[in-house]
């Protein structure tokens, strides 16, 4: 048990609690805000795992853009204050069962498989901009190009989908 374990554990607890609140919150805006907390804690986890660049990308993209987009979307679709329309459907037992089963199976599996595996975070190369830049533009440049085309397609698709037919 090292300091990293403690920090990671605490962040993990925060993250997990926020995630559970995300999927149980009665209000979609609250859920989005818990998502911010969850992603923030997750960014902290990345930092502990020395993935610095990924952590800040997480903050920039997820918190700064994705969640904002979701809040934006939720507000555009008239997210009400208080609870008026139940946010959950009626198949909560099924969903709970599926979630618990997933959790049980996955946790059992990873614990059984990786018991004792140790990450030596003090002797790993910090994933900063230089390292990640090298990786992306030297080894994964094709995937990078494909991803950019994908983004362009998504951009066009989103514009087409949201354009009203009137204009």
């Amino acid at each position: 048990m090292t300091g990293a374990d403690v920090v990671f554990g605490l962040l993990g607890i925060v993250c997990l609690a926020a995630a559970l609140l995300v999927v149980t919150a009665r209000n979609v805006i609250h859920a989005a805000l818990w998502l911010v907390v969850c992603f923030g804690a997750l960014a902290g986890c990345y930092l502990v795992l020395t993935a610095e660049f990924v952590a800040w990308v997480q903050v920039l993209i997820y918190i700064g853009a994705v969640v904002v987009l979701m809040l934006f979307g939720a507000m555009l679709t008239r997210a009400p204050i208080g609870r008026q329309q139940p946010l959950d459907s009626t198949n909560r037992p099924v969903a709970a069962l599926a979630g618990l089963a997933t959790a049980g199976i996955l946790v059992t599996l990873v614990v059984a498989s990786f018991k004792g595996a140790y990450v030596d975070i003090h002797h790993t190369e910090v994933g900063d901009g230089r390292v990640l830049g090298t990786a992306v533009f030297r080894y994964f440049v094709l995937a990078f190009e494909v991803a950019s085309v994908l983004l362009l397609a998504a951009l066009v698709g989103a514009i087409v989908l949201t354009r009203s037919d009137r204009d």
């Binding site: 459907s89 099924v94 599926a98 089963a101 997933t102 059992t108 599996l109």
Partner: protein
């Protein structure tokens, strides 16, 4: 010219194709190809006959090898001799008369184009039967005729009776045709060839059983097509078709085909005397029975139909007693006077709109041409000189007497009795239709038919006289073309015989005239009292068939239908219902809610992961 004999069936066939499929683009309408085809066939027939005169015996057989079948070879070709040429000419003349007549008779009929085309096809099929050199080729024409008779009898398909009559004609003749087909097999395989010349040549040397079986089986088809007992029942019903069709079927084509085939393969029958005896017995039964049925019938056309059956029996009888040329001669004369009588009946029918003689009477004043020509036909039918029928019928009876033996005497005796009955029913027909006073609907304006219809009557009346008259001294003309094949009796018309039949016939005439003169308004047949009923019902043959065949088959069909519906259909329908039911369960899963699908997906995924990890752990 006999090399061109294949044109005989080909030209009407082309006319039929044009008339059936291209009549819209023909200037002048469908009558043009119909009449044109008949005229062309007539011209070819005359040319072929003239050629046959210079080459009296078997002239040509243009045989071409057909598809190799691996078994007995099939051929296609023509085989023309004087006999075939004469018959072809007869067919062509009657067909032309019918086609011309039909243009007026069928005027205004919306289905005239198909009608005319079918008549042309019918003519072509009959001519194919006449000139074909191969038994299978003959069978093709034979079957096409069956099809055309079905179509033409059912021409007024809107009427229930018409459809039933067409079906009856088809099914009844099919019964005979099945036997006919197997007869062809027996003879062809026995002789090693289906070529008519080779079959007839080989007939005397074939095993007796083969010849007898082949001859008897062929006889089945003949009995069906020529409406002999016991397959005669379709012919009176076939009157449901248009009258010109009746004329064509009953005079020149369909019914003549049966007699023609027997004459064509006559050496086979000569080699199988048993078959000839059977034919003779059948002819005797049919001859008298049909004449008696005609005596009691009220429907004008059905009277003529029964008379056809009866006269065909004369021809069959002639063939049965080896009076080959006498039978053929009677076929020719009968074709003329029977076509004449049918067309005359059609003339009456078209004016009055009814077939029933009880609604006619006294028509001779208004329809003089019809009356006179009908009188000629009636005289020929009754066997009164100087009309052709008298001599040809007498030739048959002479042959019977000459043949002698039990069969010959029986034929002769029955023939004489039938002559009496024939005289009676012919007279009844004439007096009920043309003489006395009109008993029908007074609102109908009686008038003579147009010249298009009366002209064929006059021409046919001429034939009905001429075909007999020149033959009187020596029957030279007929003899020259027909000849006397080996083993048959020569054509002979005895003066004594003619006088005998004339007297007997006149006795029948006189009896009816006497009855009629006592009670002009009444049906002379009523004098028979209760005996008339079985005659009217044609000796209950139809009822017998109904009880023995039609009803059981109907019941069987209904049972089969019931099984099909409740058993087999139930399986199909039930499996359909089961699928719907089953699908109903599955459809519940198709909720349209993506989360339901996703739940199932996740569940499946978890099961896979779980099983894989358990398997790996194990």
């Amino acid at each position: 010219m006999s090399h061109w004999a294949w044109l005989l069936p080909a030209l009407p066939a082309v006319a039929a194709a044009v008339g059936l499929f291209a009549w819209r683009v023909i200037p002048g309408g469908p009558a043009v190809p119909a009449i044109g085809g008949s005229v062309a066939a007539l011209a070819v027939a005359i040319a072929v006959l003239a050629d046959a005169e210079s080459n009296p015996v078997h002239v040509t057989s243009n045989t071409t090898s057909w598809t190799p079948t691996g078994g007995v070879a099939l051929h296609v070709g023509t085989r023309v001799d004087g006999f075939a040429a004469v018959i072809a000419l007869m067919v062509a003349v009657v067909a032309l008369a019918v086609q011309v007549y039909s243009t007026a008779y069928m005027a205004g009929d919306p289905h005239y184009p198909s009608y005319a085309g079918e008549i042309s096809l019918f003519t072509a099929a009959m001519l194919l039967v006449v000139v074909s050199s191969d038994l299978f080729e003959l069978l093709i024409g034979w079957e096409i005729m069956g099809l055309c008779s079905y179509l033409l009898v059912g021409h007024y398909w809107q009427a229930e009776g018409s459809r039933a009559a067409a079906v009856k004609a088809l099914i009844t003749t099919r019964v005979g045709d099945t036997a006919f087909l197997f007869g062809i097999f027996a003879l062809g395989i026995g002789a090693g060839s289906f070529d008519i010349g080779q079959v007839t040549a080989a007939a005397p040397t074939l095993p007796h059983a083969t010849v007898v079986a082949g001859a008897l089986l062929l006889l089945g088809g003949v009995v069906g097509k020529s409406a002999q007992f016991p397959l005669h029942v379709w012919l009176p019903d076939a009157m449901a078709g248009p009258t010109p069709v009746s004329a064509l079927i009953h005079a020149a084509t369909m019914v003549a085909a049966g007699i023609y085939v027997v004459a064509r393969v006559y050496p086979v029958y000569l080699a199988a005397p048993v078959a000839l005896t059977v034919l003779g017995i059948i002819a005797c039964i049919t001859m008298l029975g049909a004449a008696l049925a005609a005596l009691a019938e009220d429907d004008l056309k059905r009277v003529l139909a029964w008379s056809t059956v009866s006269q065909l029996a004369y021809m069959a009888a002639g063939l049965a007693v080896r009076g080959w040329s006498s039978g053929i001669w009677h076929l020719l004369t009968h074709a003329a006077f029977k076509a004449l009588l049918f067309l005359a009946a059609g003339s009456v029918l078209r004016t009055l709109g009814t077939n029933l003689m009880s609604e006619m009477g006294g028509l001779w004043r208004r329809m003089p041409i019809t009356f006179v020509t009908a009188l000629v036909g009636a005289g020929a039918l009754a066997g009164l000189p100087p009309f052709a029928g008298a001599f040809s019928k007498d030739a048959v009876l002479d042959a019977a007497r000459e043949h002698g033996g039990g069969l010959g005497h029986a034929v002769y005796a029955v023939g004489l009795v039938t002559v009496f009955v024939t005289g009676a029913y012919v007279t009844r027909l004439v007096v009920r239709t043309f003489l006395g006073s009109y008993r029908g609907d007074p609102s109908i304006r009686l008038h003579e038919s147009p010249v298009v219809m009366t002209a064929p009557l006059v021409v046919l009346a001429g034939f009905a006289v001429l075909l007999g008259a020149p033959a009187l001294p020596s029957s030279y003309g007929v003899k020259r073309w027909l000849g006397t094949p080996a083993g048959t009796l020569p054509l002979h018309v005895g003066t004594v015989g003619v006088i005998t039949t004339t007297v007997i016939s006149l006795a029948g005439v006189g009896a009816v005239v006497w009855l009629w003169s006592r009670r002009p308004a009444a049906d002379p047949v009523e004098a028979l009292g209760r005996l008339a009923t079985p005659l009217r019902r044609a000796f209950y043959v139809d009822d017998l068939y109904g009880a023995a065949v039609v009803r059981p088959v109907g019941t069987l069909a209904r049972v089969a239908l019931g099984v099909d519906r409740r058993g087999i259909d139930a399986m199909a329908v039930g499996s359909g219902r089961a699928a719907v039911l089953l699908g109903g369960g599955l459809r519940r899963l198709q909720t349209g809610n993506v989360q339901t699908y996703l739940s199932a997906l996740v569940a499946g995924m978890l099961i896979v992961v779980l099983s894989v990890s358990v398997a790996v752990a194990a």
